[in-house]
Symmetry: C2
Subunit: 483 residues, 2 copies
C-alpha cells in the first residue's frame, strides 16, 4: 500500500484531544497509510450557534474522505442543541451501528470473562423513525417501519463483518412470534442472506430470550444482528456485563461514509490531566483500519494494545493491585508502540482476514410482487353510547359501502364486533375493517374515498386509514386477535 | 374470615396434577378460606377440537369466581392450536402481568444473591396489539398503541401492589427520549400517579439502561412497571439472572378476573414420577391469596416455604451437596405444612400489609381536550423517477390542495423534501405532510377527501393516511427528523 488514504479527524472536547493524539501517534508508528484532515466539532461550534455542532463546510470533508475518526464531544446544557450523532447518521445514511463487546478479564473485572461478541444494530428504521400521532383523547401511536432494503443492508453487513473479522456465527434477534410481518420480514431476509454464507453458522433467537442470554452467558454469542430498538437495549446490556464501556470503540457505517469513535464520553472533569485511557479510540481506529482495508496494520495495533493491557501497563481507570505500572495517556500510547509486532499471551490475539466489508453491501433487486388493493382499515375516534361496539357496528352495517364488506371492529387489536366479549375494555380508538365484496377482486381508491365520505356523513371522525393490499395474492395485513 | 371464597382451579397437563395437589394440600392446611371449582383445560380439550384449550362453559366459572389458579398445560404440536393464555388475556382483559424475581441464594445458584424485584408489565397494548400492514413492495409497518387508561391502570396497579406488598420503590422504564409521544404519555402518567403515593419512592429509567441494570445489578431495583414489549424483555432477563424460573409464580390481573400460575411448563417428561418441584405454583397461590385479601395465610405459607428451602429439604431439581434431604413432590408439601407458623432465618421472611390491591384500580375521568383537525400525513407507494424526492415534491406543489399547505416529504422518518440530503437512502414508502393554510385554523374531513382525490387523480397510490390534530392547541404529532 503506497498511497495514503485521507481520513477526516476531529479532536472533540474534554479528553478528546489527548486521546486523539495518543491514537494518531500509534497509527503513524504502526505504518497506517492515512493522512488526516482535521475538522472542528463540538462545543466551539455549538457556541457559534450551529445547533448540530458541526460546521456546514465540514460535511464536504466527510463526504469526500468517507471516513471519520471522531473524538468525544460535549453537548452544552440547555435547549436548542441537537445530537451530532443523529445529524451525522440521518444526513449520511449511516445504517449500521457496530458495537464490539469483549471482556478483558482479569485486567477488567467481569462476571463473564470469556465474552467476545459484536452487536450489529440497524440504525435508521424501526420505531426510531419517530413517526408518532395522537388522534383521540386517549390513544397515542408510534409507527414501526421495517424495510426490505434496510434489513438486507444490515444483515449483509453483519455477514461480511463476520467474514472479514474471522467470526464463526451470526445470530439474528427479533420478536417475530408476535410481529409476524415486520420482524417476520427481518427474519426471512436473514435466512435468505445466511444461505449465501454456508461457512458461517447462523441462528435466530426471540429477542426476550436473546437479551437474557446476553445478560447471563454472553460468551455463547458471536456476531448478533438486530433491529434498532432491540439493538439499543442489548448493546447496553452487553457493555454493562462485560464492563468494557471505558475501553470499547464503535462504528457507524454508511454505504458511502463511516464514522469511528470511542463509546465513552468527553469526561470534561479529567480533561487536560493526561490521565484518560485512550483505549476506546484506539479500538475504534482499529475498526477504521479494517474498514479501509488495512487489516494488517489494524491487527498489529490491536495485538500490541492487548499485550500492553496484559503486561499490566494501565492508565489510572483500570490500574489495580495486580497492575505492573500506572501510566499517563501519552505514555500508554508509547508503551503500545513499543509492543508493535508482539502478540498477547493470556488474552486471545486477533487475526483479521483480507477483504472489504463493504464491497458486497448491495441490495438485491427484488422482483416486484403483483399488488392489489382489497380493502381498508378505517380508524375512528368514537366515545358515545357507552362505547358499545355493537352500537357502532349496527350503524356501520347500515351505511352505503360502495362495494365493500364491513367485516369487523377491533379495539387495541382485539376483535370487539361482531361477537366480542363484553369484558373487553374499549378505548376511544376503533379500527373498522372493510374488504372487497368479491373474493380476490380488487377495489379502487375511489371506492375508499366514497366509503370515507359516507362514514363522515354518518357523523364519525375518521382519524386514519390503512389500505389493505395483497402481494402476489398473499395478504399484506394481519388478522385481528379473535378474527 | 368465615366465608369461603370460591376459586376456579385447573389441574392441567404433565406435572400439573401433582403440583396442584401439593399446592392445594398446603392451602387447606394453612387455613386458606377457599373452595375449589375444577375446570378442564389443556390437552384433553385441545383433542376435542377446541382450539383455545378451554371449554366454552368454563368461561362462566372464571367470570363467576373471578380467580383462577392454573397448572401448566401442554399445547399439542401441529397447527390450529391457540395460546390459552392469549385467549384468557384478551377475553377477560387481563391487563397486568406480574412477575416476581427473587434470588434464593445459596439454595439456588446465582450471581445476584440479593435480588428481590417484581416486574409489572402492561399486557394488552403496545406493538403486541398485532396491527401490521404491508402497503409497498419494500416496507412493512407495525402499530404501537399506548393509551391513557391502559397506562393509568397498570401504573396504579404497580403502586397498589407496592403498598400491599410493603415495597419501597417503583421504577418506570420507557424510551421516551426517542418516542416522546407514546412512551412520553406512559412516563407522564407515571409521574401523575406517583404523586398520589408520597410514601413510595418513584424513579424513571430509559429502558436500555434499565435492562442493563437488571442484567448487572438487579438487587438495586424493587418494583418495575413498564410497557408490554419492554416488560417481555426484562422479565426474561430478570428470571435468567436470578435463576428462579423453576421456583417462580406469576399472575395476570384483570379488573374483574385474575389468573395465577407457575412460570415453568408442564414438563411431560417427568410427569407422574412425583419428583416435580411444586414451588412455582405454591408461590403463585400465595399471590392469589394476597389478591383475595387473605394476606395472613399467604404470609404463613410463604414463610413456611422459605423455611423448607432454607432447611435443605429439596426436590431433585435443586438438590445439591449442601441439601439436607431429597424429597418427593407430595413429601415436599408435607414438609412445608410441618413448618406453617415458622419463619426463615437466613432468607428474608415476607410480611404483607392489609389492603386490597384492586380497590383503587379506577381510571381517572380525564377532561377532554379541545381537538382540532389541522392537517394530514398522506403516505404514498412511489417508485419512479429514480425515487428523487424533488420530483415528487414538484408534482405535489402543483396539485390543487383545497386549503392545505404542502410542507414536507419524509422517507423512513427523515425529511427528504424540501432541502433533503442526496445521500439519504429512499425506500418506496413516502410520507407527505399537508397542514392547514392558516395557522390554528382547523380544516374539515372533506378537505382531506378532496386532497386525496387530487393525489389519486395525479396518478399516485395513497396507501395510508394519518390525520394531524391539535389537543388544546398542542400538536398531537411529531416533527420529522430534520424538520
Amino acid at each position: 500500500m503506497s498511497e495514503k488514504r485521507k481520513i477526516t479527524v476531529a479532536y472533540g472536547d474534554g479528553i478528546g484531544p489527548e486521546i486523539m493524539q495518543a491514537t494518531l501517534d500509534i497509527l503513524i508508528a504502526a505504518g497506517a497509510q492515512v493522512e488526516t484532515e482535521v475538522i472542528e466539532i463540538g462545543e466551539k461550534v455549538f457556541r457559534k450557534g450551529i445547533s448540530t455542532g458541526i460546521e456546514p463546510g465540514s460535511w464536504e470533508s466527510l463526504k469526500k474522505n468517507k471516513v471519520f475518526l471522531k473524538a468525544p464531544i460535549t453537548t452544552p446544557q440547555g435547549g436548542g442543541f441537537k445530537s451530532l450523532n443523529v445529524a451525522t447518521r440521518t444526513t449520511l445514511g449511516l445504517f449500521a451501528n457496530v458495537r464490539p463487546c469483549r471482556s478483558f478479564f482479569p485486567y477488567v473485572p467481569t462476571n463473564h470473562p470469556l465474552t467476545d461478541m459484536v452487536i450489529i444494530r440497524e440504525n435508521e428504521e424501526d420505531l426510531y423513525a419517530g413517526i408518532e400521532h395522537q388522534q383521540t383523547n386517549e390513544v397515542v401511536q408510534s409507527l414501526k417501519l421495517i424495510s426490505r432494503p434496510g434489513s438486507e443492508k444490515i444483515i449483509r453487513y453483519a455477514f461480511e463483518y463476520a467474514r472479514v473479522y474471522g467470526r464463526r456465527k451470526v445470530t439474528c434477534m427479533t420478536k417475530d412470534n408476535i410481529m409476524k410481518q415486520t420482524d417476520g420480514l427481518f427474519h426471512k431476509i436473514f435466512d435468505e442472506v445466511a444461505r449465501e454464507y454456508p461457512e458461517i453458522e447462523n441462528h435466530h433467537m426471540i429477542i426476550d430470550i436473546g437479551s437474557a442470554i446476553i445478560a447471563d452467558r454472553p460468551h455463547s454469542l458471536d456476531v448478533v444482528v438486530t433491529e434498532n430498538l432491540y439493538g439499543d437495549i442489548i448493546s447496553d446490556i452487553a457493555a454493562q456485563v462485560t464492563g468494557s464501556v471505558g475501553l470499547g470503540g464503535s462504528a457507524n457505517i454508511g454505504e458511502e461514509v463511516a464514522m469511528f469513535e470511542a463509546i465513552h464520553g468527553s469526561a470534561p472533569d479529567i480533561s487536560g490531566l493526561d490521565i484518560a485511557n485512550p483505549s476506546g479510540l484506539i479500538n475504534a481506529a482499529c475498526m477504521m483500519l479494517v474498514h479501509i482495508n488495512q487489516q494488517k496494520v489494524a491487527e498489529k495495533i490491536k495485538n500490541a494494545w492487548l499485550k500492553t493491557i496484559e503486561d499490566g501497563i494501565h492508565t489510572t481507570d483500570i490500574y489495580n493491585k495486580d497492575s505492573l505500572r500506572k501510566v499517563w495517556t501519552q505514555e500508554f500510547a508509547k508503551e503500545v508502540i513499543l509492543r508493535l509486532g508482539q502478540e498477547p499471551v493470556r488474552l486471545r490475539p486477533v487475526h483479521y482476514n483480507e477483504g472489504d466489508t463493504m464491497s458486497k453491501i448491495k441490495i438485491t433487486k427484488h422482483p416486484k410482487a403483483k399488488k392489489e388493493l382489497v380493502g381498508v382499515d378505517v380508524f375512528l375516534d368514537w366515545d358515545e353510547d357507552g362505547r358499545d361496539p355493537n352500537k357502532l357496528g349496527e350503524v356501520l352495517e347500515k351505511i352505503k359501502r360502495h362495494g365493500l364488506n364491513f367485516t369487523m371492529i377491533t379495539n387495541r387489536g382485539v376483535k370487539v364486533y361482531p361477537d366480542g366479549h363484553p369484558e373487553t375494555f374499549c378505548s376511544d380508538h376503533w379500527r373498522c375493517r372493510f374488504v372487497t365484496e368479491k373474493n380476490n377482486k380488487s377495489i379502487s381508491h375511489d371506492q375508499i374515498l366514497s366509503l370515507l365520505h359516507e362514514i363522515k356523513e354518518a357523523g364519525y371522525d375518521f382519524i386514519k386509514t390503512e389500505n389493505l393490499y395483497t402481494f402476489d395474492g398473499e395478504k399484506g395485513y394481519s388478522l385481528a386477535q379473535g378474527e
